[in-house]
């Protein structure tokens, strides 16, 4: 092993990890696509004739949000494969099938994106929904792809469950397997057509909310639990107890937190109180993390062997807290959500929450993966150039995101007043708000900070490609316990 230090060498990875880095590679490409199409869509707010009739806003926006969902799922699947062999202490069961499915899934994603870009829309018939796109935000993927996704994911689920069953079935394994089962089971709720838009949206929110505010959070908590043991050497028993505590708090507040999406889609009024109550509870798991993190920081003498990964984990903690916690609660009560629902407010919250809660932690895993791939190489302080690349990438991506979030917030604030409260959400009210200087300036600043974000992404890719190259120092000893 020592001979391969500083070079990318498959011998440094176990079977699951070799598959994981393939998923990470595609995830990075899709992350880039997300940014690219987001910037084009953002530019269309400023230059409405740009690509008009060729690559309309609806197409760019669809690719923007779909690329995000898929790259994050790829990041999650990769992370699970990454930890699978070490956690279960067993080789991945059915790895060949897992590899095959990776290529099948990636080919399917490619076809879906090409159809999005070049076919775009179809006639108002079932065939369009089966072959082109379903026209349902975030889960636009046509039905054939849905079925492909379900099959791929079943194989993934089999790999994970069978590996844990044959090896060690740890506490993390138990949570992970059940969470994956729920995560993929929920996807079925988005796989049918109905004329009734209220019922359509009722189940659509099951997919979107129960993914983003429940099962994804728990999946990330599993990755975190593994990471804490691995990177900081925290004791398994404690990590697993806290994983259960977080699951109880997240599912206890998150599952019925679904209610805050059922205010305005035709559903009965009792959802107001349910949504309001559980929204007020949703910050509790975040408070728990704050207290526990402080406690852990005091109880442990941390020697951190991967500075970029650690920095991204800290960004994750802050991003999750502000994006999901603060930005979520600011407009979640129905008394105010009546005016903010479906404005740039939602966009502001969505940007910060998805990035803060999920993009950050996947990037942290990318750094851990590169470290291992280059032969457990040094990634603590004293990196060449003082580690300027990862620091700039971190700074530009986070500042770019905060800038976009604030810009969208200002636009959304104006929109909630001019369009919603005064204009009554009519056609005229809508465009009065869109033409307002606050709105337009918000859109300009969003694009400026989006450019900053894109620059950060480029440096991030450069850094991931180059960090640890020609490095001769081995990884610092992970942690010392006190």
């Amino acid at each position: 092993m020592a001979t391969t230090i500083g070079r990318l060498d498959g011998a440094n990875l176990n079977g699951g990890q070799k598959l994981a880095v393939k998923y990470f590679f595609v995830a990075m490409i899709l992350f880039g696509a997300q940014i690219l199409f987001g910037m084009v869509a953002g530019l269309q707010y400023l230059k409405p004739d740009l690509f008009y009739g060729v690559l309309d806003f609806s197409v760019n926006r669809m690719v923007h949000v779909n690329a995000m969902i898929v790259w994050m799922l790829y990041g999650f699947i990769g992370s699970v494969y990454w930890m699978l062999e070490e956690e279960s202490q067993h080789e991945v069961v059915g790895l060949k099938l897992g590899n095959l499915i990776f290529y099948v899934l990636t080919a399917a994603v490619t076809v879906v994106v090409l159809v999005y870009l070049f076919v775009q829309i179809g006639p108002g018939e079932q065939s369009s929904i089966w072959l082109i796109n379903e026209g349902r935000e975030y889960i636009e993927a046509p039905r054939w792809a849905d079925i492909g996704i379900v099959v791929s994911v079943l194989v993934f689920f089999y790999n994970v469950a069978a590996t844990f069953s044959k090896g060690k079935y740890t506490g993390i394994a138990g949570v992970l397997v059940l969470d994956l089962l729920a995560l993929f089971g929920i996807y079925f709720a988005g796989m049918f057509y109905t004329t009734n838009i209220s019922i359509d949206q009722y189940w659509w929110w099951w997919v979107i909310h129960l993914w983003v505010e429940a099962t994804w959070e728990v999946l990330v908590a599993c990755i975190m639990a593994y990471g804490l043991m691995k990177v900081l050497g925290v004791r398994r028993k404690i990590v697993e107890t806290w994983l259960y505590i977080e699951v109880a708090l997240m599912f206890g507040s998150g599952i019925l937190g679904l209610g805050h999406h059922y205010f305005w889609i035709g559903t009965p009024e009792y959802w107001f109180t349910i949504g309001g109550l559980f929204s007020a509870l949703e910050p509790i798991p975040l408070v728990a993390m704050v207290v526990h993190a402080v406690f852990d920081a005091g109880a442990k003498h941390i020697k951190n062997s991967n500075h970029p990964a650690m920095a991204w984990l800290i960004a994750h903690a802050f991003g999750n807290f502000f994006g999901a916690g603060v930005w979520g609660f600011m407009h979640t009560l129905p008394q105010i959500n009546l005016y903010t629902h479906g404005t740039q407010w939602s966009a502001s919250h969505g940007h910060l929450a998805f990035f803060g809660a999920y993009a950050t932690i996947i990037i942290a895993v990318f750094y851990l993966a590169m470290q291992q791939w280059r032969g457990k190489v040094w990634m603590a302080g004293d990196l060449p150039g003082n580690g300027w690349k990862w620091k700039w990438a971190l700074g530009l991506l986070n500042m770019g995101m905060v800038g976009m979030t604030v810009a969208l917030l200002i636009s959304g604030y104006e929109q909630s007043q001019i369009e919603r409260a005064i204009g009554g959400s009519t056609w005229m009210g809508y465009f009065a708000a869109q033409a307002h200087p606050w709105f337009m300036q918000g859109m300009w600043w969003r694009e400026v900070f989006g450019t900053m974000f894109a620059a950060g992404f480029v440096i991030l890719m450069w850094d991931l490609w180059s960090i640890g190259k020609h490095e001769t120092r081995p990884m610092q000893v992970a942690a010392s316990q006190e």
Partner: protein
């Protein structure tokens, strides 16, 4: 069931809601830090944060017309009590769950994982 907020109260709602969450976290942070470092001087600052949270919650409740309808005042009270007690409960949990570790490390300092 609800009375929609009036335009004049929008800013109050956004601001006080943000303050509820941020002061809640600050209170939890200071509370935990004070206990951790055995520094009782920080505790009044922690509770000051909680008082700020309390006031912000009342502003929010008033601006969002939460006190005018049944059930919503219950949520306000739950928030006030819940955010007050949550850091205490979680601190106890931290101590409780780590108790074994501290004992073990004293007895068996070299045995990891």
């Amino acid at each position: 069931m609800i009375e929609p907020a009036s335009l004049a109260n929008f800013f109050t709602i956004f601001f006080s809601a943000a303050m509820v969450i941020m002061l809640g976290a600050l209170y939890a942070l200071l509370f935990a830090y004070s206990r951790l470092k055995h520094d009782p001087r920080l505790m009044p600052v922690a509770y000051l944060s909680y008082i700020g949270l309390f006031v912000a919650t009342l502003f929010l409740a008033d601006a969002a017309n939460l006190l005018k309808h049944p059930l919503w005042p219950v949520i306000v009270v739950l928030m006030l009590v819940g955010y007050l007690l949550a850091p205490h409960a979680i601190w106890h949990l931290c101590v409780g769950t780590h108790a074994e570790e501290q004992e073990n490390t004293e007895l068996l300092p070299s045995k990891n994982l």
